[in-house]
């Protein structure tokens, strides 16, 4: 806050000292009195003015500057509650330089003030990054002028603040990481608290040489340029632009992203999530056509799919506005539980428990007949929109990836378009079904009931599969066995002699399902946990003490916060071992599949003998795990990041989503050979 003494010389230049009237203390007293009088009024209304105490810009926006190991300069603002910074008013310049230097600005939040329009703002915290390359181009200046501007909510806007900050020297860690010193393997010690506390399951006794070593880490810690929690551990250099959608966007821009999402959509159309749409669409077409209309079927199903895609697009917009990690929210116990209950209800409806339809108020609106008995295009589109909402929560990797990308970058346009494309892709088979089905499918009859029963079991399976993420393994196995045996019964396994060929085939399928159900029961009796390998306990019993092909590699550390990860990486670097950082979560179904199919593979286990496996457990959505994911540019589990012995991420080694043994081996190999 400027003092009178400092301002005086300024004033003398425009005000005649003789005529200058001094308000000074008397006015001040009145002002104080005013301050005391009106606060109550101010508080009671929405536009407080007199009672507000103003923070100086430096108090409202605390700036910290740090030099990263890769030479980037980061500016971080801590923003006082009730204040915000205009993201786009952040400007950096070299002193004396005319041009502004380009900054990578952290995504902001959209703020829409009436009469002012939408602006990107930072609340709570903001961050800008000046890349090493930009600094270089600017002639490696010793200091940088950084200008920023913000407001107090519903109150005032501060004039821009400009601070001249000295550019810190490149941290030592960057140099140290390039040539890591060899150290003797550390003595065994117990896992530190942060690594054990939230480990998802009891870890097998770790091998001594795989333990994180604290002394070695201290050296890196001491050289850390930014002790600030959100920075990447000092010695680690990540491959830039490793993000999922970022990478797509880099490769071919907007069109490529859209094309990719359309492709994902087509693939997703064959997942059980989309199955409920077929009967709904059949209903639309069934009532929409008057006997033969293939064209009508095409038009109606296209309208349906457009409605569906629009709903997905809007979901993208919602993600951008909420800025939340939707995948984590949707994968929570509550969401998963609710979804599996929805599938149970759908199944009940298929078995004839009740008629599946949207609330009658909607359907009567949507299916207004125009008096012809035909559905209108509008109603088909409306039903498409509504059914997207029904199956929308069925989150799959590309959908979650897109939502996360949008939430993180606030790029509404690209995100919404990508999800729209995803919805269109999902709709392609629906259009084929709607067009061809209108001609080829027989009219409603007994077959419909059989299809319904089939779908009923598919839905029960979905409910079971979803619930398996949140139920104890024994319950999952028991329910699975019940489901399989019931399906076998319905398929006619236990009835009299087969009357026809289809009935015989059904009975064969029933036998297979029943066999699996019985295996589940056996597994249950032997304490198996994995419904896909119910007899695993048998295998391990036959070869006691020997890690069979099913034994997953033992992680060097399981971490849940940045400090733990930093230690674990430091420990690996200290022993010149590359690392494979595995972002995983209990609720991540693909991760479990990878555990079984990829990590248990003998070749991967062997390759991991020469590398540290660090598991990052993001099961719990905590500030620490969110920060870890943000720092490492991880969209969601499963993500594999490979670091060389010098803690550098070799280009194009990162694996996102479901992956294969050969890809993991290739990335591990790159990490081994890279420096």
């Amino acid at each position: 806050m400027p003092s009178a003494a400092r301002l005086k010389p300024d004033l003398s230049s425009y005000a005649d000292p003789g005529s200058m009237k001094i308000i000074s203390w008397r006015l001040l007293a009145i002002l104080f009195a005013l301050m005391l009088a009106v606060p109550a009024v101010g508080r009671a209304q929405s536009f407080p003015a007199l009672d507000q105490s103003f923070l100086s810009p430096d108090q409202a926006f605390t700036l910290k500057v740090a030099r990263e190991t890769n030479g980037d300069l980061t500016f971080r603002w801590t923003i006082a509650p009730g204040h915000y910074l205009y993201r786009d008013h952040t400007v950096a310049a070299a002193p004396g330089g005319e041009d502004t230097l380009s900054l990578q600005l952290q995504p902001g939040e959209k703020k829409d003030d009436p009469g002012f329009g939408v602006v990107d703002i930072w609340r709570t915290a903001g961050q800008a990054r000046l890349s090493a390359a930009t600094l270089e181009r600017a002639g490696a200046p010793a200091s940088i002028n950084i200008t920023y501007q913000g407001c107090k909510e519903d109150s005032i806007c501060y004039p821009p603040t400009t601070r001249t900050v000295a550019v810190p020297a490149l941290p030592r860690a960057a140099l140290a990481a390039a040539a890591p010193t060899l150290k003797a393997p550390p003595a065994p010690e117990s896992l530190s608290a942060s690594e054990t506390l939230s480990a998802p399951e009891p870890q097998p006794a770790p091998e001594p040489e795989a333990l994180p070593e604290s002394e070695a880490v201290d050296a890196t810690d001491a050289a850390a340029p930014a002790s600030d929690a959100s920075s990447i551990p000092p010695a680690v250099r990540l491959d830039q632009n490793a993000g999922f959608v970022d990478r797509l966007a880099d490769q071919g821009g907007f069109a490529w992203v859209l094309l990719a999402f359309f492709g994902f959509g087509v693939l997703l159309a064959f997942t059980p999530c989309v199955f409920p749409m077929y009967p709904i669409l059949a209903g639309v077409i069934g009532r929409g056509v008057d006997g033969r209309g293939t064209r009508r079927g095409l038009v109606l199903s296209t309208a349906y799919v457009l409605g569906l895609a629009t709903a997905f697009g809007l979901l993208g917009v919602a993600a951008a506005w909420s800025g939340q990690n939707l995948q984590m929210a949707l994968q929570s116990v509550w969401a998963v539980g609710a979804l599996s209950i929805i599938f149970l209800v759908l199944a009940a409806s298929m078995f004839g428990g009740f008629e599946l339809q949207l609330p009658s108020a909607w359907t009567s609106r949507l299916s207004r007949d125009n008096g012809t008995g035909r559905r209108s295009l509008g109603s088909a589109a409306g039903l498409g929109f509504a059914s997207a909402l029904i199956v929308g929560p069925c989150v799959t990797a590309p959908l979650a990836g897109a939502l996360l990308y949008i939430a993180q970058t606030g790029d509404v346009g690209l995100g919404a378009a990508a999800l729209f494309a995803l919805g269109l892709g999902k709709g392609v088979p629906l259009i084929v079904f709607g067009t061809a089905g209108a001609r080829f499918l027989p009219k409603a009859g007994a077959w419909m009931d059989r299809v319904k029963t089939l779908f009923g079991f598919v839905f029960l399976g979905m409910a079971w599969w979803l619930a398996s993420r949140i139920l104890p393994p024994t319950v999952v196995l028991a329910l699975g066995a019940m489901l399989a045996l019931a399906a076998a019964a319905v398929l006619g396994l236990f009835s009299g002699p087969a009357a026809s060929r289809p009935a015989g085939l059904a009975r064969a399928a029933g036998l297979a399902v029943a066999a699996w159900g019985i295996m589940l029961l056996i597994g249950l009796g032997m304490g198996a946990a994995d419904p896909w390998r119910p007899l695993a306990p048998l295998a391990s019993r036959s070869a006691p003490g020997v890690a069979g092909p099913g034994a997953a590699p033992v992680p060097a550390a399981v971490v849940v916060d940045p400090a733990g990860l930093e230690r674990a990486i430091g420990a690996a670097a200290a022993r010149s071992r590359p690392t494979m950082i595995y972002f995983t979560a209990d609720w991540c179904v693909i991760c479990r599949q990878m555990d079984r199919e990829v990590f248990a593979d003998g070749r991967v286990v062997a390759a991991l003998q020469n590398a540290d496996l660090i598991k990052v457990d993001v099961t719990n959505n905590t500030p620490e795990t969110r920060q870890l994911m943000e720092t490492y540019g991880v969209v969601g589990p499963p993500t594999l990041i490979f670091l060389s012995a010098a803690s550098q991420e070799p280009a194009s080694t990162r694996l996102v989503g479901k992956t294969t043994v050969s890809k993991v081996l290739a990335s591990l190999d790159s990490a081994q050979t890279a420096r």
């Binding site: 508080r43 007199l50 009672d51 103003f54 008013h89 009469g115």
Partner: protein
């Protein structure tokens, strides 16, 4: 007194009691040695509102500051309701080059007696004004002769520079935190408030009560 008003007063009293008077005074800006009459000396822009006013409100404003824009209807409402209030706007552009250019256009429009037309056009723009082109378009729509304006901008450049410099120095001297800020008959009101509150403050000033 009706019930809502009573409830409001009760809430107000309670919040006052809960908060205590001390903290309100703490962060008060120091009023540097600048007199109220100095603020009114040789105003660069015409007053609006009452001819015979006993209340003068000086507003430090930026056309691209959202809370300034929100205050314009409140002040217009006040002047409509109170025949003895006048307002003097001081251009204090703090939102960069475009804001400064807006202020220059408004001040230059003053030479063809269009200051308020431009001021209102800028303040009531539905969105923030992000380009000089948009600014010129709004000025044209407000009835400004743009050729004349360009001549005035060039011919009176030094005067306009001086006004902007003076305003920013006054703002610094008053230790204003930002825009909007008001001085009502010598009382600094840092930030906006709705018309009803403005009226309450003015009533106290008029009745000579200490403002408490």
């Amino acid at each position: 007194m009706n019930k809502p008003a009573l409830a409001l007063m009760l809430a107000a009293t309670m919040s006052l009691a809960a908060c205590g008077p001390a903290d309100a005074a703490q962060d008060m800006p120091m009023i540097a040695e600048v007199g109220f009459s100095d603020l009114l000396k040789n105003p660069a822009t015409p007053f609006i509102g009452a001819e015979q006013a006993d209340i003068t409100i000086i507003g430090f404003m930026d056309y691209n500051c959202p809370y300034c824009k929100m205050m314009i209807p409140e002040l217009n409402g006040l002047m409509e309701a109170d025949p003895k209030v006048r307002v003097l706007y001081k251009e204090w552009p703090i939102f960069g080059a475009v804001s400064e250019n807006l202020a220059r256009i408004a001040l230059a429009a003053g030479y063809q007696d269009k200051y308020h037309a431009v001021h209102n056009a800028f303040m009531s723009a539905p969105d923030r004004i992000q380009t000089n082109q948009k600014a010129r378009q709004l000025a044209t729509e407000a009835g400004v002769d743009m050729e004349q304006l360009d001549r005035d901008l060039a011919a009176h450049r030094e005067e306009i520079d001086a006004v902007l410099l003076l305003n920013s120095r006054e703002a610094a001297a008053l230790a204003l935190n930002g825009t909007p800020a008001f001085v009502i008959n010598g009382n600094l009101i840092p930030g906006g408030m709705p018309q009803a509150q403005l009226e309450a403050v003015i009533a106290r000033i008029r009745s000579g009560q200490p403002l408490r």
